[in-house]
Point group: C2
Chain length 446, copies 2
């Protein structure tokens, strides 16, 4: 209970329960009666997930729709075909993102956008990103079938190279540094070459930038990538925010020496100090209430021979939380522990702060509408932080965002065995569909 | 006090004190009156140490008398020149070792041998091995100058490639596996090519083998390679034995997972388990009385990214002690801790035993004669285990051995800054000189 924030406040629950689904918000909703009957087509979602899964393989037959690879290009072409069939006006922005537009009744309104990505890590799975992309298209299909035109224009956004570090969404927010264009991506192409291969224009990246306020909202649905929902048998998680990530490099310096002739009490063993520090990090992070995480994922022991006492250890420290203040408090505690450990072990411990990305807080209004939607659809839900990064975190810089998680089997992702069931996907997609409708009916008109 | 065994028993001290230097042992000593006056030539030792230090450099000017290198070949030629000048009958055995013989009065007696090695690690220092080699020659020089002929024949033994794993001494004891001949040594040559370059014959290695009992004794003097003597301001350490070394590989298997989305209490972090185990090894080894050591010198953390929870850690475990029984007891304790840690951390910990070398116990008689010698020379001494390997440990398979340590500045070795002072070297050399004399006068005649 300490790690997962179940912070749905009783007050909000009360408000939701006391309001009927159709009377929430500021203006009269337009789609009240019809809303609860609209349902996504579970079979269509599943068959499209399976169809896309066939596109992009490496020489060993493993999934390889890595950004800019042939599989990625083919997957995008297949997806663009479906978008066009669904009547969307498709374009590729200078950053290589696919944008599919659907007109609204009121062209002066800002678009409500939703989507995700279809690139994958090498040997990845068939749900990460693709779920959000295919369900975004599903929302359009359902609206088409029911001949619904929203007030707001709608946009399906398929970001390029999410796995390579939110490359497409960073291009859209203007946060993609030019230097990256000449660097190699996982595909082997540079990012610049890759963007070109997707139909973007790396020389005119600034044309891809959208201004703050350009979108009325951005919604994404994603697999959870941990097993909280699965373990608790909960249908969906309404994400309160995407954590900020802070990274440090740590260097522990002792004294390399002969592991035979150096008596135990004469040693300055950098690995003893590093081991104490690994455990201290874990203890400090666990000592706080909340969903924060802290990890030492990388460690290198030098000189690294069985008969030499380690003289130097380099290691990583990464902490994530919605609150940067909490992260800095934990770091101060860890520094205090490190100073004590250095003294005890006669070593030196030095921290180098590498970077801290800010957290993205999901829009309160969208969270509330997702909760109301889940409730009226009879789905169970919790609130949760997202410990992993998603395109939503970049979109949060342009306007209000919402992120929804559905269960991932065994919490596994970035792996061919990642899995979410058709009904789990459909439940999540229905929440997105109805949240879009509710937003369309309720967002304050200018 | 726990780590260093100061086990000179009061009983032995009493015996030594109550015997005059010249009346120890079974037969009447031959050199009683003269003995205490014999002294090595400190200046000669120093100038030879300095001269040898000039031979063998790499392209950056660093010491490079690595076995089989040009520097090694030149150093040996220089040394053989001095041996011949000192009247020794010099030969190279099939294993590439240099043997310098001096006749005794009684050709039916087994030779008393002493020596060490002159090869070094890359960028090594000027005392490791060379001290034992040059002081062995010094013993001969002093006997020559004083026109002393011992009863026993004497042999100066300069073993090849000690640093590469006691290669020469293993050839002499018949413990050098043939497979090694085709393997690359540090010099770049294979061991077979290297032995040939030194004048040995790798095709007839068996000719280098000496039978058990072939030598009356083997003595070696070496720098301590730790700072016990220096710290306690003690002149020499009489080595009780060279520890056995036991090696294991340890594999800790957890579950690699996303370091952002996996809650703290859902993790199976292999590095947390490995860190606990590193500390447990240290605690177990420190919980025993004695000079045993235990080290984790090598560790590899997989997959090894700041944003991935470690799924696998491989690490080394090495323990050393004179008593293999104690090592196995410590290992059993460590296994018990590991099983507890595996349970707590939901990981699997597997130990693979790689090898255990047996310890070599120094001859009680030689230890006692070294003590008596040190005492009568007015030198302070302690007993000590050798945690590092030396050619003496191989020679122990052929007959009685004795090993003496002198102080190493800051305990540093295998390093150009390793240092022992001229007077420290001379004190040690005098102990060897007089121990040889005492052994010669006291070893039971057949």
């Amino acid at each position: 209970m300490k790690q997962i924030l179940l912070s749905l406040s009783p007050l909000i629950l009360l408000i939701i329960s006391s309001l009927s689904y159709s009377t929430m918000g500021q203006t009269t909703p337009k789609h009240d009666g019809r809303l609860t009957n609209l349902k996504v087509n579970e079979q269509r979602i599943l068959s499209r997930i399976n169809e896309l899964a066939k596109i992009g393989r490496d020489e060993k037959g493993r999934g390889y729709r890595v950004a800019y690879s042939q599989g990625d290009v083919e997957g995008r072409a297949w997806f663009i075909g479906l978008m066009k069939k669904a009547g969307l006006e498709v374009s590729i922005d200078a950053g290589g993102n696919i944008i599919g537009k659907r007109k609204g009744k009121n062209p002066s309104l800002k678009p409500i956008a939703f989507g995700s990505h279809i690139d994958m890590v090498p040997d990845g799975g068939n749900y990460d990103g693709t779920l959000g992309s295919i369900t975004a298209l599903e929302v359009i299909e359902v609206l088409n079938e029911n001949k619904i035109t929203t007030d707001h224009p709608l946009e399906v956004l398929i970001f390029q190279n999410e796995e390579g570090g939110l490359v497409g969404s960073r291009a859209m927010t203007g946060n993609l540094p030019k230097e990256i264009l000449s660097q190699k991506s996982t595909s082997g192409l540079t990012f610049g070459e890759g963007i070109k291969a997707l139909g973007g224009n790396p020389d005119k990246l600034s044309e891809a930038i959208r201004k703050k306020g350009d979108l009325a909202a951005f919604l994404e649905i994603h697999i959870e990538q941990s097993k909280v929902l699965e373990t608790r048998k909960i249908d969906v998680a309404i994400v309160e925010g995407i954590v900020g990530i802070s990274d440090w490099d740590i260097t522990v310096t002792g004294m390399a020496n002969h592991a035979g002739s150096t008596p135990m009490n004469d040693r300055q063993d950098a690995l003893i100090a590093a081991s104490k520090l690994v455990l201290a990090v874990n203890e400090v992070v666990n000592s706080y209430e909340g969903a924060q995480v802290g990890s030492v994922g990388k460690m290198s022991v030098l000189p690294g021979a069985p008969n030499v006492i380690p003289g130097k250890v380099t290691m990583s420290l990464q902490m994530r939380d919605l609150s940067q203040e909490k992260v800095m408090k934990m770091f101060a505690d860890i520094e205090k522990c490190a100073s004590q450990i250095a003294k005890e072990t006669r070593t030196e411990i030095v921290f180098e702060h590498l970077r801290s990305s800010m957290s993205t807080i999901a829009s309160q209004e969208i969270q509330e509408k997702m909760m109301a939607t889940a409730k009226s659809l009879g789905l169970s839900y919790i609130k949760m932080q997202s410990g992993a990064g998603h395109d939503t975190q970049e979109m949060g810089k342009l306007g209000p965002v919402g992120l929804l998680f559905i269960p991932s089997k065994d919490g596994i992702s970035h792996n061919p065995i990642e899995y979410s069931s058709p009904s789990e996907m459909a439940k999540g997609a229905n929440v997105i569909l109805h949240t879009v409708m509710l937003l369309d009916g309720n967002i304050q008109k200018p």
